[in-house]
Symmetry: C2
Subunit: 318 residues, 2 copies
């Protein structure tokens, strides 16, 4: 049996683990994220990892490294995380790397930001393989970004890639972060849901919430949005138009500053709305470019919802 590297994508709703050997996914497992506390989350990460090890047909001794992508602010040197409101107990400081390392018998664990590792996944194993310079824009509950410049992941002082909180409209829509007019305030799934609820309460017609109930959900998920669009729901269409326009501005601003080769659009909502959405974003970028006749390539992800887990394995050397 070859040695494997595990990649863990920790999210607010699920823990996705892949086992990678010779640059290929040879096993995987997915569990829901516990809703209780940090200790339970870490136990579930370990349980999911063990299931992926078994699925790969290997044993604990064959694991040569683990990478974890997590929301929040990551201290890459120590493997500690804090400041995530999406994962129970992760607002406070959590010794994520050291605790998982100990539970898995002392294997080396690398921790990094979830969006940055997803960009790494697409860069090394997905749609970004032909390029040295790219921006991954992950449109999900929020909007995150991961930059690869000159073939290297850009971390800055620890917070690089926050394109979701660049300003696209002065005094614009309120963002979950507390500021106004951020990209995320227009393109994040949560912001779209909030805007739809406000409009609906003000009397606007929409089938969004019927579809949500019919699917047995309590949130306007990406698939709820997609179905409303397919049914020609005007409110949803107008909110997605605004999301596309905001993405066009924010990505063009980054492009004018960095002059990259490629933009990769993914995330739960980006992947679900698919190539048609990505084409619309591409068209929305061009009018704002300093050099409109030399636009970047704009692509969908290739790894889909495995971008993060595969990227986490990549940063751990897998």
């Amino acid at each position: 049996m070859p040695s494997i590297t595990l990649g863990v994508d920790l999210g607010g709703t699920k823990i996705q683990v892949v086992a990678v050997a010779n640059r290929r996914v040879v096993g995987q497992a997915r569990h829901p994220t516990p809703r209780t506390d940090a200790a339970a989350v870490i136990r579930e990460i370990v349980a999911t990892a063990e299931e992926a090890i078994t699925a790969a047909g290997v044993g604990h001794d064959d694991v040569r490294g683990v990478g974890i992508g997590t929301p929040g602010t990551v201290d890459v040197a120590t493997g500690h995380v804090s400041g995530s409101s999406n994962v129970p107990g992760f607002m406070d400081d959590v010794a994520l790397g050291p605790t998982v390392a100990q539970a898995l018998g002392g294997v080396a664990v690398v921790v990094d930001n979830d969006v940055r590792v997803a960009a790494m996944g697409e860069f090394r194993r997905g749609a970004g393989r032909p390029y040295r310079d790219l921006l991954g824009v992950f449109v999900g509950t929020g909007v995150g970004g991961g930059l690869i410049l000159g073939g290297r992941l850009r971390r800055g002082r620890g917070s690089a890639g926050e394109i979701g909180h660049t300003l696209v409209r002065v005094d614009g829509r309120e963002c979950p972060c507390g500021k106004r007019g951020c990209l995320e305030a227009y393109a994040g799934r949560l912001s779209i849901e909030r805007a739809a609820r406000r409009k609906h309460e003000d009397g606007a017609h929409t089938v969004l919430f019927e579809i949500m109930k019919h699917k047995g959900r309590d949130r306007v998920t990406s698939s709820v949005v997609a179905e409303a669009l397919e049914r020609g729901d005007e409110l949803t269409q107008s909110l997605i138009d605004q999301a596309v326009e905001a993405l066009g501005i924010a990505v063009a601003n980054a492009q004018n500053t960095l002059d990259m080769e490629a933009i990769i659009v993914g995330g739960g909502l980006g992947d679900r709305l698919g190539p048609a959405f990505v084409r619309r974003v591409e068209e929305a970028i061009v009018p704002h470019l300093r050099v409109p006749d030399h636009p970047p390539v704009v692509l969908s992800t290739e790894l889909g919802d495995l971008s993060g887990a595969v990227g986490a394995a990549v940063v751990a050397g897998g």
Copy 2:
């Protein structure tokens, strides 16, 4: 006599040359830029370079390299330039590097964008020395940017650094580039002059144009703006407030994306308005930051109007 490297800063109004030996400026010269054609501009670059060689007390044989910073689109590999409306004849393709090299007896000539070399000058010999990651924002007739990331000049595919044409206000003020709402449309000297003329023609009171005439100028130069501010001119104050606000947004957007250590604010207008203006820009950045408690250092240039010429010498190895 030590060997010297020449740095040439080609601008729309002046040609500035420095002679650098052992990382110090040992001679310099400055001539007005001819208003006729590209051949005359190149002859004047050579004449200014020869004056700087003489001022350094050395001969032609002691020149080991020449760097030129120029407006326009530069092909770094060939030393050709095009697309500059500020320098006569430079809209078309100009063989700037090869022609200067031949005129100076076959010395090696490196050509790069004027704003990028100015950022290099501040990074290696000016205010940016303590940092590895910085953005130079040069507020002059237009607004240009130069990025140093990980200690290296960022060129992208040739057009990186165009922060002046990132969008700060949807459907905002018209920019000389033809788009609307760019940073340059609010913070560039030419845009400020145009906005002031419009307001003045619409009846707004201002001493700007009196000061301009009194100084014998036909443009609202940086010193005209500075004097109007000193005299408490309300229109000028309001236009500079808008410039500061726009700089705050655009620089914060770049900072949220890149998480740099330092921002250096220079250029003709930036240098002339000085530290008080730079402090205002610093304050205007913070409200838009994703991590407001970890802002970048914001600094004035140290080299002032020699940033470009010194940076040009640096890129040529001086």
